[in-house]
């Protein structure tokens, strides 16, 4: 059960087509609804607002009417780092977050987390969120909570799990049916499923039959760097080796995925 059809470990990842993303926010709400994310009366302080998936708005910075904007959905990048040494996993003193080598998913174990927030400081993507408050649901609204995902308490960190419970459910089904393998559509995240634009593609980056692999063409010689010239990863040069890829036909968008000197072209330097 640990391997895909090709006999290599599964490595789940995502590619988000920024040409298609309209910034509608469906992915954000699909995620909250799927994962029992709490909500408050005032959510306008975004430093205290828990959004595992968050859509950012980028701009080319040009004056009217040459202004352009682009939306960029940001889940957890599920960094592989160097053989599982993702930034957050490396610093957790409680082993509350862990890199699963059989799926490539970075987990978060709420009952182990004691809220030191080292992982939040270590994450260069602001993908981790702290529960500053007790989660409170207004009258009646607990009815809509899903038993597939535990509700988190005040004082712990949480983040996108690539809807790990959906992976578990798919694996359980495969096990009962005495299968070793999962079909591509058997395990999809809630955001991928809900996206009205079909901008999010999810699957096994190690499986050449999966769309993510075919679109991204990850280069094993360079920690999965995309061979597709329109694809890029956020802060590629940090070496976090993220499993979320983006695509854009616009150079300024690709360039805003990393910090570049004014004279540099987008894309990681060859020496990386």
């Amino acid at each position: 059960m640990k391997h895909n059809q090709q006999g290599t470990p599964r490595k789940y990842g995502m590619v988000i087509d920024l040409d298609k993303c309209t910034g509608c926010g469906s992915c954000m709400v699909a995620c909250m609804s799927e994962n029992n994310v709490p909500f408050k009366k005032d959510e306008t302080d975004k430093l205290k607002s828990i959004t595992w998936m968050r859509v950012y708005k980028l701009t080319n910075g040009k004056p009217f009417p040459d202004t352009e904007v682009c939306y960029l959905p940001r889940p957890c990048m599920h960094c592989e780092g160097d053989h599982g040494h993702s930034p957050c996993v490396s610093v957790c003193p409680a082993t509350a977050t862990d890199y699963d080598h059989t799926s490539g998913i970075v987990s978060q174990i709420y009952t182990r987390c004691f809220g030191c927030r080292y992982c939040m400081a270590a994450c260069p993507y602001h993908a981790r969120y702290f529960n500053w408050f007790d989660p409170i649901w207004p009258d009646g609204m607990k009815e809509a909570l899903s038993p597939n995902v535990s509700v988190r308490m005040r004082g712990v960190v949480e983040k996108c799990s690539f809807c790990y419970h959906r992976y578990q459910l798919a694996m359980e089904k495969a096990y009962v049916e005495e299968r070793d393998t999962l079909e591509e559509e058997e395990y999809q995240t809630a955001c991928t499923q809900a996206c009205p634009s079909g901008a999010i593609i999810f699957g096994d980056l190690n499986n050449p039959d999966h769309a993510v692999h075919q679109i991204v063409q990850p280069d094993p010689a360079h920690h999965g760097r995309p061979k597709n010239p329109n694809a890029f990863r956020l802060l590629e040069r940090l070496g976090t080796n993220p499993k979320v890829y983006y695509m854009s036909s616009r150079e300024w968008v690709r360039k805003s995925g990393d910090n570049y000197l004014a004279t540099e072209k987008p894309g990681a330097p060859e020496s990386h």
């Binding site: 469906s26 954000m28 959510e43 306008t44 809509a144 899903s146 634009s197 079909g198």
Partner: protein, 668 residues
């Protein structure tokens, strides 16, 4: 505080249709035991195939939220009292009968969120049987399109678009990706355009999400979209780019004379702020493209466009032959499956009906409105109509307001009776979906969960009320209950509807090879509208805009959707309006500063966001904020833009076509 542990149980899915907007998406609701825990898109559904919008995904918060009305209520001395269903209905019936007996049957009226489907038609029937012609569905841009089509093509029709097969999309401020039409359907059409290299051009004064995704943003001066459309028509005719395709149409010569004289690129450039070279290039591209289509409908299209704009844009389609052609604008027949026997009318009813229908504005005008009893069926006029202060005052002056709603919304709050309804997740109802689709659809909602509260199906409320009124009114409703009415209306196809969840009959296939079905365009109404509707744009205009993350209509934005509103729009309870740096400089305002927006309808405290994403001369304010009802999760946040915009009745269509108001922006 104890963290909840959600109860386990068997998982199941129930399919239904989302009715939170006119889009008609198929949904699949995940249940654990008897609880609904997640709304998902229905795979393979012709409208949305798996996709769902942020509002639809938040639907369970509307179902389970504390803003539901738990049972029938009556207002006594300004306070809500519980009342039984029987008592409420008999009291209301008694008052209606009193009006009938006094010869004031036409003082009864009903506002409805839609005019289509069995529930709306039952309301219309109740009014008719009582003697009132005043059944008033809330108009949208679909009505503006129907009006324009009736004038230009001589036949009333429903307008849709075959976007999937368009080769070039020219949108005049239609928020194709900001909630226009069937929103999820539009997103997938847009993705298809990206994949197939179809060019999309957005003409709009603000860099909306639609403009941001367009291949070209044409940032016209606020309110000059129609000028640009007619300017393009000028170039197409001047350079004979359509090879004389429309020359045989009625009144074509007078139209040609109008655009040749008044809409030269130089004049249009001066009016719109768009360079002559861009105007000419756009016209050439549009005319040369295979299967081009032009479309209008500001923002989410819930506000009608003025007749000049709708007709100018329709004329562009007619000029290049994109009416009832693949990839073009599709004029189809109104979905008409409700064939009931006429209601039984007594003398009182006949006299009342003879008086003819009036508009809502007429009915509510003056200190003593012509309406004595008003039903509001799942609409929220006290929030969504323009100049809400006046609307609220008028509603308060009506002696009997009955709100049929699931929520304690602004209109329910000032009603005399609230008759609470199950939400669309708790009831069966037919839903007619046109919403810009090339092929209209009839969907059927299914009860996903048992009704949670002491609610009654709106169809049954109307039938029970008719029974309580007795006489010919009761005789007009021969069904035992709503379900009986629904099944008899559909007859033999009900089984198919119930099993598949929707019925769809392709209009396009029958029309495409018979483009003559609508006849040739008559251009006289375009010339007429241009004469009557043309107006000057004020120096500074407050304009409402729509965005996918905020619900701007009768349904309020649920907490999950509110949570994803960016802090550049709402911060604590402060709403930000967007202004161009040039506007900011003139007003002496810096980014983030507090300001007062003043219009003829009212004033409001806001903050300014100085951005290059709007044209100079525009104060852009999002729709959907400033609720005063519901509760703290929804209300008290920002300003309702409808408070600041007065109605602008179109002299041709009669529809309220206001999209903004002349404004002043003052340092606070």
């Amino acid at each position: 505080i104890e963290v909840p542990v959600p109860e386990r149980g068997p998982a199941s899915y129930v399919d239904s249709v989302c009715t939170l907007c006119p889009g008609g998406c198929g949904i699949s609701v995940r249940k654990i035991g008897d609880r609904a825990v997640k709304i998902e898109g229905k795979a393979g559904h012709p409208v949305n195939n798996d996709g769902v919008c942020a509002l639809g995904l938040s639907g369970l918060q509307l179902l389970y939220g504390p803003w539901r009305v738990t049972g029938p209520k009556k207002k006594e001395n300004g306070r809500w009292k519980k009342i039984s269903w029987d008592r409420a209905l008999s009291e209301i019936a008694e008052k209606l009968n009193e009006l009938r007996e006094a010869g004031k049957a036409d003082a009864i009226a009903g506002i409805s969120r839609t005019g289509r489907g069995t529930v709306a038609r039952l309301m219309q029937r109740l009014l008719a049987a009582a003697g009132s012609p005043h059944f008033l569905p809330v108009p949208t841009n679909e009505n503006a399109y129907s009006d324009a089509v009736a004038r230009m093509f001589g036949k009333p029709g429903t307008v849709g678009f075959d976007f999937e097969n368009s080769g070039y999309v020219l949108s005049f401020a239609a928020g194709l990706l900001d909630g226009w039409g069937s929103p999820v359907h539009m997103f997938s059409a847009h993705s298809q355009w990206k994949t197939n290299g179809v060019k999309m051009v957005q003409v709009e004064s603000r860099l909306s999400s639609t403009a941001a995704k367009a291949d070209q943003w044409v940032a016209v001066k606020p309110g000059t979209e129609a000028d640009l459309a007619l300017g393009l028509a000028h170039v197409i005719l001047r350079d004979n780019l359509n090879a004389g395709a429309a020359a045989n149409s009625r009144a074509f010569d007078s139209f040609a004379a109008l655009v040749k004289k008044d809409y030269t690129p130089a004049r249009v450039a001066a009016a719109t702020g768009i360079k002559e070279s861009v105007i000419v290039a756009l016209a050439k591209e549009f005319a040369a493209a295979s299967h081009p289509v032009a479309v209008c409908g500001r923002g989410d299209g819930q506000t009608p466009c003025d007749s000049r704009e709708v007709m100018a844009v329709t004329a562009l389609n007619a000029l290049v032959g994109s009416v009832n052609r693949q990839g073009g604008m599709i004029i189809g027949p109104e979905p008409d499956y409700i064939q009931w026997a006429r209601p039984v009318l007594d003398d009182t009813a006949q006299k009342g009906l003879a008086k003819g229908p009036k508009t809502l504005a007429d009915l509510l005008a003056g200190k003593t409105p012509d309406v004595q009893a008003l039903f509001v069926l799942e609409a929220n006029p006290a929030y969504t109509l323009h100049d809400t202060t006046k609307v609220k005052a008028a509603l308060e002056a009506v002696p009997l307001v009955v709100s049929l709603s699931s929520f304690m919304d602004e209109t329910s709050a000032l009603a005399d009776y609230i008759l609470p309804l199950p939400t669309c997740l708790e009831r069966t109802e037919d839903v007619v979906v046109t919403a810009g689709l090339k092929t209209p659809m009839i969907g059927l909602t299914q009860p996903v969960v048992e009704p949670r509260l002491d609610t009654r199906h709106p169809g049954d409320v109307i039938l029970d009320l008719a029974k309580a009124m007795g006489g010919t009114v009761a005789e007009s409703f021969a069904w035992s209950d709503y379900q009986d009415c629904l099944e008899k209306t559909f007859g033999l196809v009900y089984g198919k509807l119930a099993t598949e969840g929707y019925l769809q009959k392709s209009v396009l296939e029958t029309l495409i090879d018979t483009a003559v079905a609508v006849g040739r365009a008559d251009f006289a109404p375009v010339v007429e509208a241009d004469k009557k509707v043309r107006q000057n744009t004020p120096a500074l205009v407050l304009a409402a805009y729509d965005a996918m993350r905020v619900a701007g209509g009768a349904i309020a934005t649920p907490p999950y959707a509110m949570k994803i509103v960016p802090d550049t729009i709402l911060k604590k309870n402060d709403l930000y309006v967007e202004i161009n740096p040039e506007t900011a400089q003139k007003a002496g305002l810096a980014d983030g500063k507090a300001a007062v927006v003043e219009t003829p309808a009212g004033t409001a405290q806001v903050r300014v966001r100085v951005t290059h994403e709007v044209a100079p001369g525009m104060v852009a304010m999002p729709r959907g904020f400033g609720h005063t009802a519901y509760d703290d999760y929804v209300s008290g946040k920002g300003v309702n833009v409808n408070d600041l915009i007065g109605p602008v009745p179109d002299p041709v269509s009669g529809l309220d076509t206001a999209w903004g108001a002349p404004a002043k922006l003052i340092k606070a």
